[in-house]
Symmetry: C2
Subunit: 337 residues, 2 copies
């Protein structure tokens, strides 16, 4: 198995990416080659400074770099020699099995659609994020790749998410829910009402109905489906509310010597809570519906986030995520005729 | 000034409503008559049991009751003798100045549109909620009354919210922002892009641009505008994430005697945090764009929530909320021609 890793993507590139790749080799590198894509001199120089042994890696020289300033729509044509575009092209050509990047989400999304292409019935891939919840997390899609969606897209998201939950997250018979402003079938906009009916008739999933956003963290969902505008709100608001509330605890504990001592007694428990909210634990968000596995690591990923994103890519390949998904999508579409 | 109060609305009616009304009379009753609407025998019996003196109140006998099971669209015709419909009708006829109810949001929204009517340029009123944030809260609208919106509706929400923030929340020159999945003008769906341009050109408000949901709690917004589907997600997800995280703290502190002692040292600080998240503090959500002040108190309101909703209604009347809003909306529409 060969996994392409974009060394130049993300806020902490190239250092965090190289360290994450090195840690991945150490922890679960057997039977897997990691190909590092980026300017060869940068890779060699950085690895040297960080005492990272490059022997286990393949290095694919890509002189160009995709930045956050690049127009996502033009990047494939403008920067064919960048680590992102070259990696996706090699993936498309079957010279490797998966691609991992912490670079620009917009550029990765558009370039994946253009180069790797999508499965039958999928116009553009959906970005799927494992969201924190006590007990077990849930897969949220679309998280922002497709701001406007039709009902059949949400239906496909249900199938794609369900297959991912089984194959990568290890969930049996995953519960799929639709974000909505009420539990009843007739709630929401006409598009959401239509999506509800399609999901209900979808033979590839176990649809459990609408979920109100108040209940998404209750831990009884595996997959939560919505359009990309709403998904982006769910993703970022969860982060914002958690950051604000946990941030408010800090001055409470820093108030005086007694409260500081108090913090020591609960430090372990708070660690579990922080771990739950930590996006590095999961690693990345797959672009579901792409013909081959593409994992978007969080832009702010540190080495652990990159390592875990590579682990996800490995599991996708090992469990034939894309083959299974393609079949399930065909069943979904057949039932929706 | 006369304020109509629906004694039969909400999970804790009639007791909590009567207590809230009695507390309102005690705290800020001068120059204000509260008219209690409901079955007279129920009002008299409950007040007797609770030792509430009915002398300061007007009682308007309404034999019928709107329930959560009533179809919102039909309730005005089916239950003209209910406290909700009779109250709105008297408000429309100028026999009082504002209406407060903790009853069914859907029924109140539709009946307000049909009976009280809306201001020029407003098809249906928007539900506006003061959302928690450290420092100062922000007014979110629409919170779910209008699942589907056009760009000109979001523009009107900006004006309506800005006037409410000035007249009722006491904010000078309020900052109005648009929920979106990025700070840049071109972000979001076509409808959100169009709304951004209209809000930017709106002479009645100080528009500060897009706000990402991650930043809504940062405390620098006074008014946050979005469609009712998204607003409902923001409202309920904020509640869900806060409930989940604060709920996770409980077992951490209950773990052993040391952690229980630790809790005592930070109890005061936690109280402030809980107070911030407490919807009873504000009281209710106004239906903005209705021709006269209608306040929806939270369905689970206790006496304090009802009292504070009555206070809001009083401030709306004292500061001529509706007159000011009508003029501001006319300016908004003129600029959008």
């Amino acid at each position: 198995m060969k996994i392409f890793v974009d060394v130049m993507g993300g806020d902490n590139a190239p250092n965090a990416v190289l360290q994450g790749a090195a840690d991945a080799v150490k922890e679960f590198g057997q039977g897997m080659t990691i190909a590092l894509l980026g300017p060869e001199d940068v890779i060699r120089k950085t690895a040297g400074e960080m005492n990272i042994d490059l022997a286990p890696f393949e290095i694919i020289h890509c002189p160009d770099v995709v930045t956050m300033e690049d127009d996502p729509v033009r990047v494939a044509r403008k920067k064919p020699e960048s680590s992102m575009i070259k990696g996706l092209t090699l993936l498309k050509n079957g010279e490797g099995d998966a691609f991992v990047s912490a670079g620009s989400t917009g550029a990765l999304h558009v370039a994946t659609s253009l180069i790797v292409r999508t499965m039958k019935g999928v116009k553009r891939p959906a970005l799927a994020t494992q969201m924190p919840a006590p007990g077990k997390n849930y897969l949220l899609l679309d998280c922002g790749a497709n701001a406007e969606c039709r009902a059949d897209m949400l239906n496909a998201f249900g199938t794609m998410g369900s297959v991912y939950a089984q194959k990568v997250m290890g969930r049996e018979n995953p519960a799929v829910a639709l974000v909505n402003n009420g539990a009843e079938e007739h709630k929401g906009t006409p598009m959401y009402r239509e999506a509800h009916q399609k999901l209900k008739a979808n033979p590839s999933i176990r649809f459990v109905g609408n979920v109100e956003p108040r209940d998404v963290m209750k831990g009884d969902m595996d997959v939560v489906v919505c359009d990309g505008f709403v998904g982006n709100v769910v993703l970022k608001l969860t982060e914002g509310v958690a950051t604000t509330l946990l941030g408010m605890l800090k001055p409470i504990f820093l108030k005086n010597i007694l409260t500081k001592l108090a913090y020591l007694t609960i430090k372990g428990g708070m660690g579990d809570l922080k771990k739950m909210m930590d996006s590095e634990e999961v690693g990345g968000a797959p672009l579901l519906g792409a013909s081959r596995p593409v994992i978007k690591a969080h832009g702010s990923s540190k080495a652990r986030g990159i390592k875990n994103a590579i682990r996800q890519a490995r599991i996708c390949v090992e469990n034939d995520l894309c083959g299974t998904m393609e079949k399930a999508l065909a069943d979904t579409m057949a039932a929706d005729q």
